[in-house]
Amino acid sequence: GIQVEQSPPDLILQEGANSTLRCNFSDSVNNLQWFHQNPWGQLINLFYIPSGTKQNGRLSATTVATERYSLLYISSSQTTDSGVYFCAVEPAGGSQGNLIFGKGTKLSVKP
């Protein structure tokens, strides 16, 4: 089956710093989403981005489907950005809507 690898696994930032999280996947996908799991366990949708670039405030994401990777940019990080960031993909030709998750990047933003 498809492999989804996220890097780095852990990241510690000082408030105000910028960061880039990466998601590599081993096969073609129909769908790619980025989620933020906050310290209370909620899974919050960040981006639905099977291809191209999107921006939402301090966050932006780029997916290059032909090269099988996606990047999540966080600028001017805040302590509320702390948590785990997941990339999830729906394999092309796979079961409809079946999202395969990476293991996540745990982000800690220090004040």
Partner: protein, 111 residues
């Protein structure tokens, strides 16, 4: 006005008991899912329902059974609970293979 809501948020029960987790979505989506997040935060799909038909059934024990009374609800029934069933269970929904939205999770602890 919660889009995907699941109850209860916390569930503590003894081994051998039978329990249910309820999920409702008010987004008009056509597909609903159950995911399991283990102690290492790894998320894996368990089931999905599309138009009241089961279209994915990953290798989960048959003690777990999804029940969908209508398009807006997908409940998870678990029989003869075991210690290893302790995890966080997330309900999700999507429409036409697009963006999936998750509930707040149910933390199940089997003692």
């Amino acid at each position: 006005d919660t889009a995907v809501s699941q109850t209860p948020k916390y569930l503590v029960t003894q081994m051998g008991n039978d329990k249910s987790i309820k999920c409702e979505q008010n987004l008009g989506h056509d597909t609903m899912y159950w995911y399991k997040q283990d102690s290492k935060k790894f998320l894996k799909i368990m089931f999905s329902y599309n138009n009241k038909e089961l279209i994915i059934n990953e290798t989960v024990p048959n003690r777990f059974s999804p029940k969908s009374p209508d398009k807006a609800h997908l409940n998870l029934h678990i029989n003869s609970l075991e210690l290893g069933d302790s995890a966080v269970y997330f309900c999700a929904s999507s429409h036409l293979q697009r963006e999936a939205f998750f509930g707040q999770g149910t933390r199940l602890t089997v003692v």
